[in-house]
Amino acid sequence: MARVIFRWTVLSVMGVFFLLPLVAMVEFSTRDAKTWPLLLDWPRLSAEYPALAEGIVASLAQAALTSLLMLALLVPTAVWVRLRLPRLRRLVEFLCLLPLTIPAIVLVVGLAPVYAWVNYFLGGSSLTLVFAYTILVLPYAYRAIDAGLSAIDVKTLAEAARSLGAGWATVILRVVLPNIRSAVLSAAFLTVALVLGEFTIASLLHRTNLQVAIEFLGKSSAGVSVAVSLAALLLAFVLLLVLSLAGNSKKGRTS
């Protein structure tokens, strides 16, 4: 009984602490009744706050392209290393997890000269941030995909496919990929959530995305920026919540 009381006391205190800022955001962004209708009206939003609209579009494009680049880079490499170059696995894992120990602010310092070249070859578009973001999501995406590959017998699948005459592209795209689709999906979800929340690199490399736009807007119209923050937050919450609940329920089923 004491345990139950303890549990619910702790949970309600924590619940208040964690819900209060969210409630406050709702309250703050509804002080002006025109804020939320404006957010749902895309043409008016982009007319009144062009920088914000540009940031939203840039972030969505960055999220999509980063997911694609991450998958194109990571899935074939992980499969290939597992099948043909097991000795390189430690190195690949080390490189993929390296960004965890390098703070984003440090990465920016090193990326600045690299992006001087990127600017030279590809221009200063905010889409070029996709390269840096792919590095940023590497640890999370690698863990998800590696876990997915560990759960299936890649070797047998690949040998079976090869013995039936499939090429390597077919093995990766049509045999392995469908078998790890939930891992691929979770890697992509994590990528989208991380990219939508990224500020450090975009702001310091003088490019725009959603967070940069929100921060810029915060100086002039706090209500709108809090409303957009809340909307972006809810989107990321839903993405990650679906991801973790789906992961949990699957674990429950197999065990």
């Binding site: 955001m25 990571l74 074939p76 602010i105 929340g197 915060g218 990321a236 919450f237």
Partner: protein
């Protein structure tokens, strides 16, 4: 027969060529990681020891790290990270313990762990704005308190200084602690407690002699992880603090945006290197403690 003879040496010669071809498949990955991860890392490390103008080995940048204002920034960064890590670790451990006493597959536990997973990722500009809307100068809670005769800012506005940053950081530290500490708590078997009780021990002794020492490496390790997490955070502080650069990441921002003016192009790199060193030391200790945890509670 002639065919077999012709075949045999070919296969022998084929092996090394095949391995070369196999390596070829990893070229895109390694090329990309080299350009966008290895080169930036080396840029920081080499740049920290390079004189202005881009040539010559020098210790001037690293020596400049002992300047008063940089030492103070590192001190404040470490204070902020340590205090938010300690608060996060203690509160997060209590929350994790409350969850462990619930049903393992129950809805409550699944919901809270899912929420913790989401909130641990929550940081940056949106988090700063959430707290501005809550206890900013015209925030929800501030206004409510002022209506009731209490002014949280009676002794000055602390939200944009270290105490405020600590409060904001705990918002992602506590959930992170729940995520990393929960597996260790799950590793404590009920049989140990039963054995302890059947041998005549009481609750106090159980926590100080059995569960406490068993959980100590996991708790310490998680606290270190939280420290590194806070130490590397930039966006939240950048959005909250617009005047001055109290902590190292903000000092680096200053060095990056004014490097042309001051002619201290590589001081930022030296500070970045300092951050990497701190994080690397902390993460090494973390992985050592993690090994011990896996041995005891795995």
């Amino acid at each position: 027969m002639a065919e077999i003879v012709a075949d045999a040496p070919q296969r022998v010669a084929g092996r090394p060529r095949l391995r070369g071809a196999a390596l070829f498949g990893t070229v895109p990955f390694f090329a990309f990681v080299t350009i966008f991860l290895v080169v930036p890392t080396l840029t920081v490390v080499i740049g920290a020891f390079t004189g202005d103008g881009g040539r010559g080995f020098t210790l001037a940048n690293v020596r400049a790290l002992t300047d008063d204002y940089i030492v103070a920034a590192f001190g404040r960064s470490i204070t902020l990270s340590a205090s938010s890590a300690l608060i996060g670790a203690v509160v997060g451990a209590i929350l994790a313990y409350a969850l462990v006493t619930a049903k393992p597959d129950g809805l409550l536990r699944r919901l809270v762990t899912a929420a913790a997973g989401v909130l641990a990722q929550f940081g940056g500009v949106t988090l700063a704005f959430a707290f501005l809307a809550t206890i900013g100068l015209s925030g929800f809670v501030t206004l409510w308190l002022q209506e009731h005769g209490l002014d949280p800012y009676a002794n000055g506005v602390w939200l944009f200084e270290l105490p405020g940053l600590t409060l904001v950081y705990t918002y992602f530290q506590i959930p992170l602690m729940v995520i990393v500490f929960l597996p260790a708590l799950d590793g404590i078997r009920p049989q140990w407690r039963e054995a302890h009780v059947s041998l005549g021990g009481n609750t106090w002794q159980y926590w100080t002699r059995v569960a406490g020492p068993l959980l100590a490496p996991a708790f310490l390790g998680s606290t270190l992880l939280l420290f590194a997490n806070a130490f590397s955070a930039y966006a939240t502080a950048a959005a909250l603090v617009s005047q001055g650069s109290p902590i190292v990441p903000l000092q680096i921002r200053g060095a990056l945006s004014s490097e042309v003016v001051l002619g201290q192009a590589n001081l930022g790199k030296a500070m970045a290197l300092g951050m990497v060193v701190v994080v690397a030391v902390v993460m090494t200790l973390y992985s050592l403690l993690q090994k011990r945890t896996a041995k005891w509670l795995g």
